[in-house]
């Protein structure tokens, strides 16, 4: 579940408020789906996100390098998927306030993309289809970023209907194990493509009609360091 920050009662401390909103955005970038929503409150304290996400990335890389995926069918193809789900789903209950926790969303997305590529290559799925799937998932991520930047949050159901990284991967893994990965990828491309495109375009158009004009300075592409420097005047280049 993604909590919508603007629905919260007014908080006196602006620093506290800013921290809450920005953390909600970080959690939204993870793109957790229905499985995480069900399990989130039943996993106790959960795993530390950065080590777990790193471990899952390494596990997927190992699966790719050692060739356990074989010809892309049979139960072995579930290994990378399960490794990631088992390691990363339990990180969801964490507050993501750690100093390195900004690494988690890119790690999750990177591992997800890598798993899709490895499964697809092993099962000989048409690569252009994989390209479309990665683009569609990427589009959803970009859209989440751009929308939260303008404080226009996607409704919680979008993240559920979008299946989240974990259900997407489980479906792909199951499809590969049963030897029908091509079809699963194709159906997922169409379903997610239509869902994300229609939902995002309708909300942006609706918003454009009712909203006050965007700020002159709303640059959706400024690097974080530059945005910071503009607002505070303190150069802070990495």
């Amino acid at each position: 579940m993604i909590t919508q920050p603007q629905a919260a009662p007014a908080v006196a401390d602006p620093d506290e408020e800013r921290r809450r909103v920005q953390t909600a955005r970080l959690l939204a970038y993870r793109d957790d789906g229905p499985l995480v929503a069900v399990l989130r409150d039943r996993m106790g304290p959960g795993l530390p996100p950065v080590p777990a996400a790193l471990a899952s990335l390494l596990a997927v890389v190992a699966a790719g390098v050692t060739g356990v995926l074989g010809d892309g069918s049979g139960p072995a193809v579930l290994l990378p998927v399960l490794a990631m789900v088992v390691l990363v789903v339990p990180t969801a209950p964490r507050d993501h306030l750690g100093r390195f926790d900004w690494l988690v969303p890119p790690l999750i997305r990177g591992t997800e993309f890598l798993t899709i590529i490895l499964l697809g290559l092993a099962a000989d799925t048409p690569k252009w289809l994989l390209f479309v799937l990665i683009y569609v998932v990427g589009y959803h991520t970009y859209d989440t970023v751009y929308r939260t930047r303008q404080s226009i949050w996607p409704a919680p159901w979008v993240f559920q209907a979008g299946l989240g990284w974990e259900v997407r991967l489980l479906l792909l893994g199951a499809g590969a194990a049963l030897g029908v990965l091509d079809w699963v990828v194709a159906v997922m491309c169409v379903y997610l493509g239509v869902l994300f495109a229609v939902e995002s375009i309708t909300s942006w158009v609706r918003l454009d009609k009712q909203a006050s004009p965007a700020q002159a300075s709303d640059d959706l592409e400024a690097s974080p360091e530059e945005a910071m420097e503009q607002a505070t005047g303190e150069a802070d280049k990495a």
Binding site: R18, W102, P106, V145, P224, D236, A238
Partner: protein
């Protein structure tokens, strides 16, 4: 919304032989209709606030009453400060303060009131003293040992009593408050965002109580900035750059201001401001040099930013189609098309800023289709490679797409986490303290705590950006959008798609490693 406050009580220029003339009686003769300075200013600020507040001396109040908005009469500096405190307390908007004798470009008002800084003052720096060889003269006493002074130099009729750094006002003085090495004047226009309005009100009220300590040469805005700085507000600075501002208090000055202003090209300044400052190397030198003129042309033809975005999308799709033909001619055409797709991508943003047509949808269209354009070209290249018999490079295309998407997400996530960190507060100093040495010591301490270990290294790296080569190399290594489009255009036109993807993946990987190193260190610091 912004609340405009006209300050009708600026001191006349120091040392001016001419008597003070109120702005309502200063004619700008060579402008059409020969308006008075006050008429012109009221007309200009109407775009920001249709009911500005004027704080005026009783003798001038009648001039303001004939114009829209409210008028508060005040007989002296203490009254001015109290009136301003009242206004700041009532305002839940941003505040824009400007002397009523100001002759200023519309564009400068626009740029100051649209700034992102919490507080921003228009300043003019004193020219550095130079020796006969044109080298700046170094002071005999290093700044650490310098005595705070009551500034007695004069610049543009104002006392030099502020010290500014590269980005903000460090310290301000008055006839009572001494400043270490003053180097600038506060010209008058001051923008304060709503979140600092309460602080401004408090400061103005406290200053009103000590008005007897100030001299006739102490300007109202100078005192207000003094109050803000002493309360730990970061007051940003900007110069006039390519725009005009002057205070006028006599007909001779008004005439001089009009004559000087005629030498400026306001439209050009507005166009230059429409170009983003922080672009990469390729964008700055191979696109922005002329894209602004396309933007101006488009604005005059009445094109909207969204229409330009559509042109850019069409060019991107055509480019992908050209690459997909797999022929050399197609590859060259594709390279050219993607370059112009990128040019028009820059034009739409510049047009939006120049024509001031911003839309939520426009920002989204622009950002989303930037990505779409880039990735559809990947697909076109992969198809072209197979058509041309140069091999199946779809896997490389998949990797390039993943690397770029994840790199973007790294930026976004770090940006979000970075915004969670509370800013390190600036030191404060009570207004009763006469010299600014404690402020200086506190700033020195703040700097010291921020320069240990990893921080020191980062600081050093930030400083290295003063060298142009380092500055641009650092911008190029992160592989920004301009460099990416250029890399695609050149490698695809000259070599084959495989080379393009390898370039993208390798350069992207180096960029990711570089930014990650910096950000991991920053998170540790």
């Amino acid at each position: 919304m912004t609340r405009v406050v006209l300050l009708g009580s600026s001191p006349g220029p120091i040392g001016s032989p001419e008597p003070y003339v109120p702005p309502a009686r200063l004619a700008l003769t060579s402008l059409s209709g020969s308006p008075s300075v006050l008429d012109r200013l009221y007309g200009q600020v109407a775009a920001v606030d249709s009911e500005p507040l004027a704080i005026a001396r009783p003798g001038d109040a009648e001039d303001h009453r004939r114009r829209p908005g409210q008028v508060v009469e005040s007989a002296d500096l203490a009254g001015d400060l109290r009136a301003l405190a009242d206004a700041a307390e009532r305002a839940d908007d941003n505040l824009f303060l400007i002397p009523s004798g100001a002759v200023i470009h519309d564009e400068l008002i626009y740029q100051i009131t649209k700034a992102k800084r919490g507080a921003l003052a228009l300043v003019a720096r004193e020219a550095r003293e130079e020796d006969e060889n044109g080298e700046p003269i170094q002071d005999d006493v290093p700044i650490e040992d310098a005595q705070p002074e009551i500034g007695d130099r004069v610049l543009e009729g104002l006392a030099v009593r502020a010290r500014v750094s590269r980005t903000r006002v460090v310290s301000v003085g008055s006839a009572y408050h001494a400043v270490t090495r003053p180097n600038a004047i506060l010209l008058g226009p001051l923008h304060v965002q709503a979140r600092h309005a309460a602080t401004l009100a408090e400061a103005a009220r406290e200053l009103a109580g000590m008005a007897h300590l100030f001299g006739p040469e102490d300007d109202l805005v100078q005192l207000l900035v003094l109050g803000l700085v002493r309360r730990g507000v970061s007051v940003g600075i900007r110069g006039r750059r390519d725009l005009f501002f002057a205070r006028t208090a006599s007909q001779a000055e008004a005439d001089a201001a009009v004559a000087a202003m005629a030498g400026y090209d306001e439209d050009r300044a507005r166009l230059n401001n429409a170009v983003k400052g922080a672009d990469g190397f390729f964008t700055t030198y191979f696109v922005s040099t002329y894209s602004r003129f396309i933007a101006r042309w488009a604005a005059r033809r009445g094109l909207t930013p969204n229409q330009v975005t559509l042109i850019s999308i069409a060019l991107g799709v055509l480019s992908a189609a050209a690459f997909a033909t797999g022929t050399r001619a197609g590859a060259v055409a594709g390279g050219l098309l993607i370059y112009f797709a990128f040019v028009f991508d820059c034009v739409d943003g510049q047009l939006a800023r120049y024509a001031r047509k911003f839309g939520v949808l426009g920002a989204w269209l622009d950002a989303t289709f930037d990505r779409a354009k880039e990735y559809v070209v990947f697909a076109g290249l992969a198809v072209g490679s197979i058509v041309a018999g140069q091999g199946d490079v779809w896997t490389l295309a998949l990797v390039a797409l993943s690397v770029q998407s994840v790199r973007h997400l790294l930026d976004f996530s770090f940006g979000v986490a970075n915004r969670r960190r509370p800013p390190v507060p600036l030191p404060t100093l009570a207004l009763t303290v006469a010299d600014d040495r404690p402020l200086r010591d506190a700033l020195e301490k703040r700097r010291a705590t921020r320069t240990g270990g990893v921080r020191g290294l980062l600081k050093l790296w930030t400083r290295a950006g003063r060298f142009r080569a380092v500055h641009w190399a650092r911008k190029m290594i992160v592989f920004p959008i301009g460099e990416r489009f250029a890399a695609i255009a050149i490698t695809a036109a000259v070599f084959e798609p495989r080379v393009t993807f390898l370039t993208l993946v390798i350069w992207g990987g180096v960029a990711a490693a570089y930014t990650l190193t910096g950000r991991l260190m920053r998170s540790l610091a």
